[in-house]
Subunit: 319 residues, 2 copies
Amino acid sequence: MTNTGFTAGIDVGGTKCLAVIIDPDNNIVAESRVPTPRGATALIDMVEAVAVELIELSGGLDGIGVGVPGQMDLSGRMAFAPNLDLGDLPIQQLLEDRLEVEIVIDNEANCAAAAELQLGVARGVSDAVLITLGTGFGNAIIVNGDVSRGAFGMAGELGHTVVNPSGPECGCGNRGCLECYASGSGLQWMAREAVERGETTRLLALAGGDIENVRGEHVTRAARDGDKAAIGVIDRFSWWLALGLANAVAILDPEMVILGGGLVTDWDLFEGRVRSHYDKMVLAGPYRPPLRIEPVALGERAGALGAALSARVHKGFAN
Amino acid sequence: MTNTGFTAGIDVGGTKCLAVIIDPDNNIVAESRVPTPRGATALIDMVEAVAVELIELSGGLDGIGVGVPGQMDLSGRMAFAPNLDLGDLPIQQLLEDRLEVEIVIDNEANCAAAAELQLGVARGVSDAVLITLGTGFGNAIIVNGDVSRGAFGMAGELGHTVVNPSGPECGCGNRGCLECYASGSGLQWMAREAVERGETTRLLALAGGDIENVRGEHVTRAARDGDKAAIGVIDRFSWWLALGLANAVAILDPEMVILGGGLVTDWDLFEGRVRSHYDKMVLAGPYRPPLRIEPVALGERAGALGAALSARVHKGFAN
């Protein structure tokens, strides 16, 4: 164990991997990115290579935090990571076998929440919910000023709460999870449904005439062009997201929702609709101030930064 | 403000009101119970009368905690209490205007959780969910060793998360809240449905031949007699409760569920079914130990005891 005050964070995303080194004042002093490979072995090889590069670059690290898009348990096993198509991976052990540095692994949403809490939009906030709307529905919860990881390291999976038992099948095995609706995949699914029902030719045209090519970005583009069906899809998506927010607020009563992920870029298309549906659904609305919904302040670096912060306190978790 | 080391707790239930005085070692040294009257004025009069009685009895109290079956905000207003048919009551202010003693008001499930955490089944537990299955679905959450009240004092309303948007109307205004199914009222509703569908004559007979008289207790009795439709109702109830547990576990990852309320007496009828459905639904089940579900240790006094403990730390909340 060196003691340089420098740590690194590696955010393993579904498509790319972003790594940072931070100095003792939490400034990012180096950064690198590589595409995320497929398969467990390739993934571990890649993280090792990035880690070795970071160690050389820094001349010695106190620890490396790794954020993964999957559900971790407290023993450092990744239970499942649908966006990497991986399950049951003892990722902490595998990396510790190869590297001479302290490794801390956590869910990427928890990392992002830890970073936003310490350096971003959630500074000084006691109770908050972080949601990342990317391909999936990422989530972390902040309770009493800390990122809560639960009893077994698996808290913060609002996306896998069942909100419609007769809904579509979810990758987790249940039906009608919130993630089936309020996520990039959900948006895509609802868009393809609208195309199948013959409600829109614009959406299909944007996808080159092939329904299998219809993606979330076509919905937002068509909606901006005024396509009614695309606007309908955005409204339906917003309704389900509002339901998820109302459910989270009923249980956790946060003062703020921190929003991240690719869909944030088009948040102006969703916000009014989400708020209007939410206001009708939330429990005891008149007794609450309007819900604060704020985008992540640290952008795409939140996960890597949070992982690096976590590594600073060695296995005890940062925040 | 006296300083006797004695505090009192008053648990205002839907039908009866239970009050205790505790000594500095948290022993119950006096107890009283009265029926809960209807209406806001009668309720405040009753709590005042009980409080005056307790103050006389003890020769001076450091504070009085009041647990209510409704959703409180941090300013001491009760937003709504469906089982008392009350809403928007500034209960703390009304009582402080009448009594010369510090008053602390909290939701009854939070009180029960604080008591179980300090003196009951949840001692030493970091993350837990308390659920009371009575007429409604009461809930409190324990995160990082504390009862979490959220940013505005309103956390812990798992019963009012929407789990089926096309479900029956809930008293809160939404459709298909968990409480519509997993509660005494839910059990009664499902039983009446079974009777209406002509599935059971036994249930109807137990209710004296009048479907409007069919209640939860008839279901459990008929199920013990082997009535298939009653067993079906219990299984359906168990499925929805399991869904609620799986949702809570996905978000909070507790090590324990603490179960209270009237339905606990018949828990043997439900437990196997709840567990079997839960095991199929819970996220990443193989990575978790079996869910600990334990009945409250402090029984019907948990709420009053927790209220008295809360009063000990004056408005700052106990636990």
